[in-house]
């Protein structure tokens, strides 16, 4: 049985833009975002033999129009990769890119791939969540899944229901923290170094996008405490404690141990384990809990062994449920050191690789940390987790 170590060599992303007419990427195609990111990644490895890339996996949730047509294949061609490099499209909603990484990573693990590109894109402005969805009537007629489950905000309110001690105040506080950490990460240059600037067309000429548009560093508790609660009258989930609708693309380079040697690559992280798990669709935000338990068990380690955590912030409350379960503090310094989706945004299928980029960067700055974790909740009730080892760990 072949078994090869799987390495995360490098990852980049486009700056994220606010979805909608007023957003920077309104006139930019989703596949063009992927192409920019892909070419930007390959530019950082000028000596890499592109023909040696075995596959290109790009995720998108709504695979139609500029996010359709087997986007992994089309974007590779558009990015100038040789036609001999195949590609495919993949979907697991919010965890698309994460699944692209685990799937192709598994291919590397069994020795069938040497190097792959894996990432994701979502242009939520052009492809709103649930666009074109046609749920089977059996869901409702047989009461299999509540219609609330299709509305992510409602699932977040349900987490508050289930855990009344996880209050709106705590959620707001966490959200403010995310914005502040993101601003600080920018000040220290930790984010920019892995961004690929994108030229975006607009009604008033070209713009070059080199920062994440959604960030709101001026956010305060008072500023968000009275925001409308669109998912429930007098509810707890607001635009202030949730990630905004966003456009963006991410891409990463993975390689097996042989390829690392052959092409002289410098890995940033090694894949230790991964797991996906299902939860009730109506409360999808708690997904990271079982997937993390599963991944930790597979890795043979515990939460105490994890030195850094990148958890996607679809909603602050969902992060709190994870923190609560593992007995951590809301302001645990291991968690989302550079801020998270509440500040940067969450272009659905792309976020998984953003978490990995940030973790890899934090590994670099923390050689004392051996293990890190990337995890996210997923629509329709799932969680996904990948555990990584710091290749720069100075045991």
């Amino acid at each position: 049985m072949i078994s090869k170590d799987v390495y995360f060599i490098d990852g980049v992303r486009t700056p994220f833009g606010r979805a909608g007419e007023k957003g920077v990427y309104w006139n930019t195609r989703a596949d063009d975002l992927v192409v920019k990111a892909m070419m930007g990644l390959l530019d950082r490895h000028p000596d890499l033999d592109k023909a040696a890339i075995d596959d290109v996996a790009v995720a998108a949730t709504t695979q139609t129009g500029d996010q359709g047509l087997t986007i992994g294949r089309t974007s590779a061609i558009l990015a100038g990769l040789p036609e001999s490099v195949p590609g495919f499209a993949i979907d697991r909603m919010c965890a698309g890119a994460m699944t692209a990484v685990t799937t192709t990573g598994s291919g590397i693990g069994v020795g069938m791939y040497d190097m792959v590109l894996a990432g994701g894109v979502e242009h939520m402005g052009r492809h709103p969540m649930g666009d074109g969805a046609d749920p089977n009537p059996r869901f409702l007629s047989e009461k299999l899944v509540d219609s609330d489950a299709l509305n992510m905000g409602c699932t977040a309110e349900k987490i508050h229901d289930r855990f009344p001690h996880l209050t709106k105040e705590r959620a707001d506080k966490f959200a403010v923290g995310s914005q502040q950490k993101a601003a600080k990460a920018y000040e220290e240059g930790f984010i920019q170094k892995d961004l690929i600037p994108v030229s975006a067309a607009s009604d008033s000429g070209w713009q070059v996008v080199n920062r994440d548009e959604p960030m709101r560093p001026e956010t305060t508790m008072e500023g968000i405490s009275d925001l409308k609660t669109p998912f429930r009258p007098h509810g707890r989930v607001t635009a202030g404690n949730a990630s905004p609708l966003t456009d963006g693309a991410t891409i990463s380079l993975l390689a097996g141990e042989d390829a690392v040697k052959k092409h002289g690559l410098k890995p940033k992280m090694k894949m230790v384990s991964f797991a996906f798990a299902g939860v009730e669709p109506e409360i999808m935000g708690i997904g990271p809990i079982p997937s993390t338990e599963k991944a930790l068990a597979k890795a043979g380690i515990g939460m105490d062994d994890i030195g850094l955590i990148e958890i996607n912030e679809a909603f602050a409350i969902q992060v709190l449920s994870f923190i609560d379960h593992f007995g951590l503090e809301d302001d645990d310094p291991r968690i989302n050191k550079y801020g998270g989706a509440i500040a940067f945004g969450h272009p659905l299928a792309s976020s998984g690789v953003r978490l990995m980029n940030q973790l890899a960067s934090q590994f670099e700055n923390h050689p004392e940390v051996r293990y890190g974790l990337t995890t996210m909740c997923i629509g329709l009730g799932m969680g996904g987790t990948v555990i990584w080892e710091n290749t720069g760990w100075r045991g």
């Binding site: 007629s141 047989e142 229901d161 289930r162 429930r232 007098h234």
Partner: protein, 706 residues
């Protein structure tokens, strides 16, 4: 098809359910003729089995029988369109028959056609793919084999609830298939429990179907199973009654059922007893003998007054209730995102619970002391916990509602409410004070609702700056059970407020009836009439027993004094004082009632709650007069009083139409279907004509004799 059925086929207004046939090639190489019942309409139009439907099915069955004899097919199966097997007979065809024979012919037609399923030369199957009620269940019972979809919405034989009996073989076939005890449950007990239906699992466990399959591949699996049966697979019927059951358990169970129904409902409703007679007789004899018995009794029942009144009542509750009359445009309704409840007593707490669960918005309760508030909040939270324990409420939702519930001593808490309802002491000055104070704290658009049962809402609102947002919103006890909600439009109530009130009533899942703001609205006003006659009778020297006996022919759900005790004699007395002030010629406020109220007890009950007799102390308080009239006059005067009052109410526009009166009495007082609420009964007894010169309904809601 026999000639005699021709008169049934003249009316072509029927929504016909077609019988489409397709041949299915079975894995064994044999062929199954699959008949699909489909009315070609979507799920909003359930499948029904009218005469033309049965005619077409009959032709199709005859054709398949011929093919079976030729060896072309080896089995016949019937199934339905998505979600429905059949929701029963076409009630519009028997709801108001013009001739007795029509009813009989329709019943005979069903027997004639369905019998072919039992008599076929090949195995016959019904694949119960969806809702099966009444005739829908019976078509399955007549076939030789049955499969069942585990996701079918419901099965049942609701005929007894409607005032008839399962007349297409159900009363004979069901006990002979599943045994006497469960047959009694399905045919008699369940219909009398608010028309309770069966879930597929229950029906399957009773033996109503031979095998049950999951919904995803229900038809495919049913067909494979039918293939096995056609090729010789033996099907066990573990619940078919044997000789011993027929001899001993059967008659005993029927006897016991008879006794229980007599205790609970009295002897006025006919259909339960007729059903019991049929079930008793089904213990022996042939199927065709059973069918003939059904033909005979149905001819009488369908043409009878009680069934006619029941169909009228059924339509009120099913259709009329869904389109409340006199309501303004729905688009005028405003959103209600936070509710206030003034008062934390039992009634207020019940209201808070209802609003919490149905509106799913924050509810704040206030009262005069923290102690009272805490008591109210505890009550609501305890009720929520009980629902979780019973499995009727999701624990997350319980947390949600509990978090939405709060209490306050201060009306300041209502500052962001869209709706505040008061359920405080039934005294005008108190209510006026509450409304006045509320107005200082609530937003201008906030609706102020009163749960008053007998005070004038207009009067309550008269000193307000914005009386147009005040409305009467009267619930019935117990709030969780009684569907009626009287929505009273006061003098100045505007359309937006009415529209919002109707929308809220709908969301609360109540039956809303718009009433004029006058004299205890509908139900309590008519109770005032009843109580007046009762008290007059007591003061004239009749005994409690005389009066209980006198009103028995109505078949009301409770003994009048049992009801009086439940309502509360002080409350009743207080109400009669108001009614007397409204019109003392028609409403009688008796001092005796006051004395009885102070005494506090009327009935003696055993530990099971059954009435044993009347309290000696209460009896002693009654005036020692000797009646100078016959006890028969008690009922006569009661009925005349009702007819008179209802006519006045209609003339005064208290409600939009007479249907609203009957709907209110059915859903607010639990008055039985066989009275049609009350006005059909008053008409058919000639009371309306005697008192008002004409009946309430033209044509009258009565059966036919010929």
């Amino acid at each position: 098809m026999l000639e005699k059925f021709a008169p049934l086929f003249v009316d072509d207004s029927e929504v016909i359910t077609h019988s489409f046939v397709s041949d299915v090639a079975l894995k064994s190489g044999k062929t199954l003729a699959l008949i699909t019942l489909d009315n070609l309409k979507d799920h909003n139009r359930p499948t029904t089995l009218g005469p033309l439907t049965l005619k077409e099915l009959d032709e199709v069955l005859d054709a398949q029988e011929q093919r079976a004899k030729n060896g072309e097919i080896h089995g016949i199966a019937i199934t339905g369109k998505p979600y429905f097997l059949a929701a029963g007979a076409d009630l519009s065809k028997i709801g108001a028959v013009e001739k007795k024979i029509t009813g009989r012919l329709y019943v005979e037609l069903g027997h004639y056609v369905f019998a072919k399923l039992g008599d076929s030369s090949v195995p016959t199957f019904v694949f119960i793919n969806g809702l099966a009620l009444g005739g829908g269940v019976e078509i399955a019972l007549n076939a030789k084999y049955r499969t069942l979809n585990s996701a079918a919405p419901a099965l049942g034989l609701p005929e007894v609830f409607l005032g008839i009996i399962p007349g297409w073989g159900g009363s004979y076939l069901l006990p002979n298939l599943i045994g006497i005890k469960n047959a009694l449950k399905v045919i008699v007990e369940n219909p009398l429990k608010q028309n309770r239906m069966l879930k597929p699992k229950e029906a399957f466990e009773m033996g109503m179907a031979d095998v049950m399959f999951e919904p995803q591949r229900f038809l495919e699996q049913s067909i494979d199973w039918a293939d096995e049966v056609i090729n010789g697979k033996k099907v066990k019927r573990p619940f078919e009654p044997g000789t011993l059951e027929r001899k001993t358990v059967w008659p005993a169970a029927v006897k016991m059922a008879r006794g229980m129904i007599k205790d609970r409902l009295g002897e006025v409703p006919e259909s339960p007893y007729v059903a019991l007679d049929l079930i008793e007789a089904a213990r022996s004899g042939t199927r065709d003998e059973g069918f003939k018995r059904e033909d005979d009794v149905m001819e009488e029942l369908v043409s009878g007054d009680k069934f006619r009144a029941s169909m009228y009542a059924f339509n009120l509750v099913q259709k009329h209730a869904k389109n409340p009359q006199g309501a303004p445009d729905k688009s005028l309704a405003r959103p209600v995102n936070k509710v206030g409840v003034v008062g934390a007593g039992l009634m207020a707490s019940q209201l808070a619970l209802l609003f919490l669960r149905r509106l799913e918005v924050p509810v704040v309760m206030t009262d005069v002391s923290q102690e009272r508030i805490d008591k109210g909040l505890s009550y609501v939270r305890a009720e929520l916990d009980k629902l979780v324990e019973k499995g009727r409420l999701d624990p997350d939702d319980r947390n949600r509602y509990s978090a939405n519930l709060s209490g306050s001593l201060d009306y300041e808490a209502f500052a962001d409410c869209d709706w505040v309802i008061e359920a405080v002491f039934e005294e005008m000055s108190v209510k006026q004070e509450v409304f006045g104070k509320l107005e200082q704290f609530v937003p201008e658009h906030c609706i102020l609702a009163s749960n008053t049962s007998s005070l004038s809402v207009s009067e309550m609102a008269k000193n307000l700056k914005n009386p147009e947002r005040v409305v009467g919103f009267h619930f019935f006890n117990p709030v969780a059970v009684m569907p009626l909600l009287e929505v009273a439009r006061a003098d100045k109530t505007d359309d937006e407020t009415m529209a919002t009130a109707m929308a809220v009533g709908k969301k609360l899942k109540k039956t809303t009836v718009i009433v004029k703001d006058e004299a205890a609205f509908v139900v309590n006003r008519l109770f005032g009439v009843l109580l007046s006659e009762q008290m007059r009778a007591l003061d004239d020297g009749f005994s409690f027993e005389d009066i209980s006996e006198a009103v028995k022919p109505l078949g009301l759900p409770m003994d009048p004094f049992d009801l009086l005790e439940l309502v509360g004699m002080h409350v009743a007395s207080h109400m009669m004082d108001s009614m007397k002030a409204f019109d003392e010629s028609r409403f009688y406020a008796s001092e005796t009632l006051g004395k009885l109220a102070d005494h506090g007890k009327l009935l003696v009950k055993d530990d099971k709650g059954k009435i044993k007799g009347f309290d000696k102390g209460a009896v002693a308080l009654l005036p020692s007069a000797t009646p100078s009239r016959d006890s028969k006059t008690i009922l006569d005067q009661t009925l005349e009083g009702l007819a008179r009052e209802i006519k006045i109410m209609l003339d005064d526009g208290v409600v939009h139409s007479v249907e609203d009166i009957d709907l209110a009495m059915i859903t607010g007082a639990g008055w039985p279907f066989h009275l049609g609420g009350i006005t059909p009964y008053l008409d058919r007894e000639g009371v309306s004509q005697r008192v008002n010169g004409k009946p309430f309904h033209e044509p009258m809601v009565v059966g036919v004799t010929g």
